[in-house]
Every structure is written in structure tokens, then in C-alpha cells.
């Protein structure tokens, strides 16, 4: 590994950082990069990462390809048709990118210095920030998007489930009734069904759904004795009403 100038395996944030470091350590002139050597060192570095089972980001691979391409272009004889001074150095783009990157690295350091200085001053708003009133935050669009994501990713608690059921539509409630009947081999106590929907709106939806199903002769309500429990059972058109077509329609409303 003598082509790699450092025995330590440095950690680079990106391929440009790695290249800049190779150039700096060997005090190369960026406007006349020995591309064959740099390419070899770059590939050696990636190879050593591989040996250590470190995942190599796509950006590093892409740069390897770019380097090899530049190297091969430089091996070609100059285009005889191009006039003197017209043939472009294949390294030009890379050099421009490296310089651009280096530029912003310096800019970042400048920002850091400014920020350290600013950190040493205090203003009344800074002070107010500690005792933030009622935990309210100054919000940006980013906060909004993040909030939405977090809500969506939050596992629904038991309360949430109950509420979801409460707010289902009549069509969805019909589907619920069908599921309940299937799960219980065709007979469900009405009261059990009602208990699943403790809030008024859920009960209304359930009631409307039952009326609908009874009217369609998909479900029948039976009472074995006076004041006894009412049972819901499949009726003669149960399968017809809940045919594929109807189910699809319900599904559509469900989404």
C-alpha cells in the first residue's frame, strides 16, 4: 500500500474530500494533477474500505469511474483535427469541481468563526427562549411537514381505534356487520355489536346500516323471547348483497 500516502485510514465525507486530501498531503498542483497516480491511490483507498467491510457510497463509486475515464482519455493521442491549444484537458471539469468544493469548505470555516463570536453575545430574545411560553414554537414549513410525518408514523393507541370505528360511514358499517357475522358463524347479539361503538355517531351509523341490511334482506334480526337478547343473523340475500360488486363499491368508499 505504499501508493497511499497515509497509514491511517481517514474517514472522508465524500469523494471530493478524499481527492483534495490526497492532493494536499502530497502537495500536488491542482492545475496539473498526476491523474494516473491519484486514480491508483483513490482506488486503493476504496479497496481498503472494502477489505474492512465498510459500505462504499455510490458517490465514491461514481468518482472512481470518472477518474478512470479521465485517465484513459489522457492516454489517447491528442485529436489531430483540433487546432493548437484547442484540445481540452480532460481534467478541467474535475479541477473546477475540486476548486468549487474547496471554496465552500473555506466558506464553512468562515461561518463557523462568525457563529462562535455570535455565541458569546446575549440578547433579550435569547433569554426569552428559555422560558418559552406554553411550550409554543415558532414554526416553519419544515416543522409542518415533519409534524405530519410524525402523526402518520405514530402507532394508533386504543383510543384511536375506538374513534376510527365511531366515525365510519354507513357503507363501512355494513361491511363491519358482515365481518361480525362471518366471525361468529352467522349470529351476533345486537348488544355486542352496539358496545363496540360507544359514541352516538357510531351507533347512528350502525343503526342506519342495520336498517339498510334488513331492508335488503341480507340480515335478519331475531328475538327468541320477549325482552330477550336480539340476535342478528344472515338472511337469504346475504351473499347477494355482499357480492363482489357491492363489496367493491363499499371498498371504494372505504378508501
Amino acid at each position: 500500500m505504499d501508493s497511499l500516502p497515509s497509514v491511517q485510514l481517514e474517514v472522508y465525507e465524500g469523494p471530493l474530500d478524499l481527492l483534495l486530501d490526497l492532493i494536499r498531503k502530497q502537495q500536488l498542483n491542482i492545475f496539473d494533477i498526476p491523474i494516473a497516480r491519484i486514480t491508483q491511490q483513490y482506488l486503493d483507498y476504496l479497496h481498503r474500505l472494502e477489505q474492512l467491510n465498510i459500505d462504499i457510497a455510490g458517490d465514491f463509486i461514481l468518482m472512481a469511474a470518472t477518474l478512470i475515464q479521465i485517465k484513459s482519455k489522457m492516454l489517447l493521442p491528442p485529436d489531430p483535427l483540433a487546432g493548437p491549444g484547442q484540445a481540452e484537458d480532460p481534467r478541467t471539469d474535475l479541477v473546477a469541481r475540486l476548486l468549487e468544493h474547496e471554496k465552500f469548505k473555506s466558506a464553512a470555516q468562515m461561518l463557523q468563526q462568525k457563529q462562535v463570536l455570535e455565541q458569546a453575545t446575549w440578547s433579550r430574545p435569547d433569554l426569552g427562549a428559555f422560558a418559552d411560553e406554553q411550550g409554543e414554537l415558532v414554526v416553519t414549513l419544515w416543522d409542518l411537514v415533519k409534524a405530519f410525518r410524525e402523526v402518520l408514523e405514530r402507532p394508533p393507541g386504543p383510543a384511536a381505534l375506538e374513534i376510527v370505528r365511531e366515525e365510519i360511514t354507513v357503507a363501512e358499517m355494513m361491511e363491519e356487520v358482515r365481518r361480525a357475522l362471518r366471525e361468529s358463524q352467522g349470529s351476533v347479539p345486537l348488544l355486542d355489536l352496539c358496545r363496540r361503538y360507544p359514541h352516538r355517531r357510531g351507533l347512528i351509523a350502525l343503526f342506519l346500516a342495520l336498517l339498510e341490511l334488513v331492508r335488503l334482506e341480507a340480515v335478519i334480526a331475531v328475538q327468541a323471547e320477549l325482552f330477550g337478547p336480539i340476535f342478528l343473523r344472515k338472511h337469504k340475500l346475504f351473499d347477494v348483497v355482499f357480492s363482489d360488486d357491492t363489496a367493491a363499491q363499499i371498498d371504494q368508499q372505504y378508501n
Binding site: Q8, L9, V11, L137, V139, L141, L144, K146, F148
Partner: protein, 206 residues
């Protein structure tokens, strides 16, 4: 310590302190200056702040020293404070509710409730109050619940030309996942490894 820098330091401390600052407290922070000198410097500070070109004064109050605006500017200061549109502050529940409305609009209260898993009524009231959300008719379903959508004020406050400028969840997916990675300390910045340039892995050493 010379008198001028001492006065400057005292002024700075009085400025940042939330309560009137007592001589004892100051003596503790500036132990190398005799008490009498501190007292004298404070006296000069009080006197200097009475100059006609100064709008805030150092006053002795409740056994300590503190800064306040001079009474003669009361009217103008009050006018200014009133004219200020405070930055948009929202509680987390309000922010969440606003986010749901922004992305699911038009949407009903029960629908928001279902997504959040918590009753959004009070958060929604806040949003309506701040004019960030408005009603948008009723949904044609059982109970005909009221629909809500975001307002023009919402667009203005969030610097959006129209609702289509709202970033899609997909666009922020990458970014948000990246934040999560960072919170886990994984530093998903990039391979070959996490952090800053200073970190060097000694692994390659033979």
C-alpha cells in the same frame, strides 16, 4: 479593573438578568473589585443612563438594579409593541392538526381525530382563531360534518405561493429519514462513515 470596563460589565450583567441584580450578586461574580468601588460604579451607571440621548435607564428597584425604558417613551413604545405581528407560534397539537389539514384538505373533524388519535377540537379552535384554517362547506356523508381547509393567511405565513408549493411527503421522505438516522447517532451522512473530517479510523493500521 478600570472604571469604564467595569461599568460596561455591570451594564451587560444587569441587561441579561431577569430579576433586579443585587450588589451581593454582583460582588460574587466580580470578586476582585472592592464592594465600595462596585457601588460607586453602579452610581455612575445610573447617572449616565439619565443622559437625554439614552432611552433605557438603570434603576434601583426592589433592592437591586435593573434596566427599563424611560417613562417618557411609554406611548411610542406601546404603539410599537402593538404594531408588531408576533412570529407564528403554535403548540405541538396545533401544529400537528394544521399539518393534517394542509395535506388532507378538505377534511372533517372526525377524520382529523382518526389520524391524530386525539381529540383535535381545541387545537382546531386555535387554528381557526389564528385564521390559519377556514371552513369549506360540509361533507356529503352521515352527519354532514364540517370540512376544513387551510387559508390564504396560512400560505402567507408559510411563504407559499399556493397550496401546490407545499412539499410532498415523498420529497421530504429522504430528508426526514436522514434526520432520524442522525438522532440515532448513526450519522447517515454517507459512507464510508459518519462524522467530520477530523475523525480518523485507525482500523487500517497494520
Amino acid at each position: 479593573m478600570e472604571r469604564d470596563p467595569l461599568k460596561a460589565l455591570l451594564e451587560a450583567i444587569i441587561y441579561v438578568s431577569e430579576e433586579p441584580v443585587t450588589l451581593d450578586q454582583l460582588q460574587k461574580v466580580i470578586p476582585d473589585v472592592p464592594r465600595e468601588e462596585l457601588r460607586a460604579a453602579l452610581g455612575e451607571l445610573v447617572a449616565a443612563s439619565q443622559a437625554p440621548d439614552r432611552g433605557i435607564e438603570v434603576r434601583q428597584i426592589a433592592g437591586g438594579y435593573r434596566l427599563s425604558t424611560k417613562p417618557e417613551h411609554h406611548e411610542a413604545v406601546r404603539r410599537f409593541v402593538r404594531s408588531q405581528k408576533p412570529p407564528l407560534r403554535l403548540s405541538l397539537p396545533a401544529l400537528e392538526t394544521l399539518a393534517i389539514i394542509a395535506y388532507k384538505q378538505p377534511v372533517t373533524l372526525p377524520e382529523i381525530h382518526a389520524i391524530r388519535g386525539v381529540d383535535p377540537s381545541s387545537a382546531l379552535a386555535t387554528l381557526l382563531d389564528k385564521g390559519l384554517v377556514v371552513t369549506a362547506g360540509r361533507k356529503q356523508c352521515v352527519g354532514r360534518p364540517i370540512l376544513y381547509r387551510t387559508s390564504k393567511e396560512f400560505l402567507i405565513r408559510f411563504g407559499l405561493k399556493d397550496a401546490s408549493e407545499l412539499p410532498t411527503l415523498k420529497e421530504f421522505e429522504e430528508l426526514a429519514r436522514a434526520t432520524l438516522g442522525e438522532m440515532e447517532g448513526a450519522g447517515g451522512e454517507s459512507a464510508p462513515a459518519s462524522g467530520s473530517d477530523e475523525q480518523a479510523v485507525e482500523a487500517g493500521n497494520a
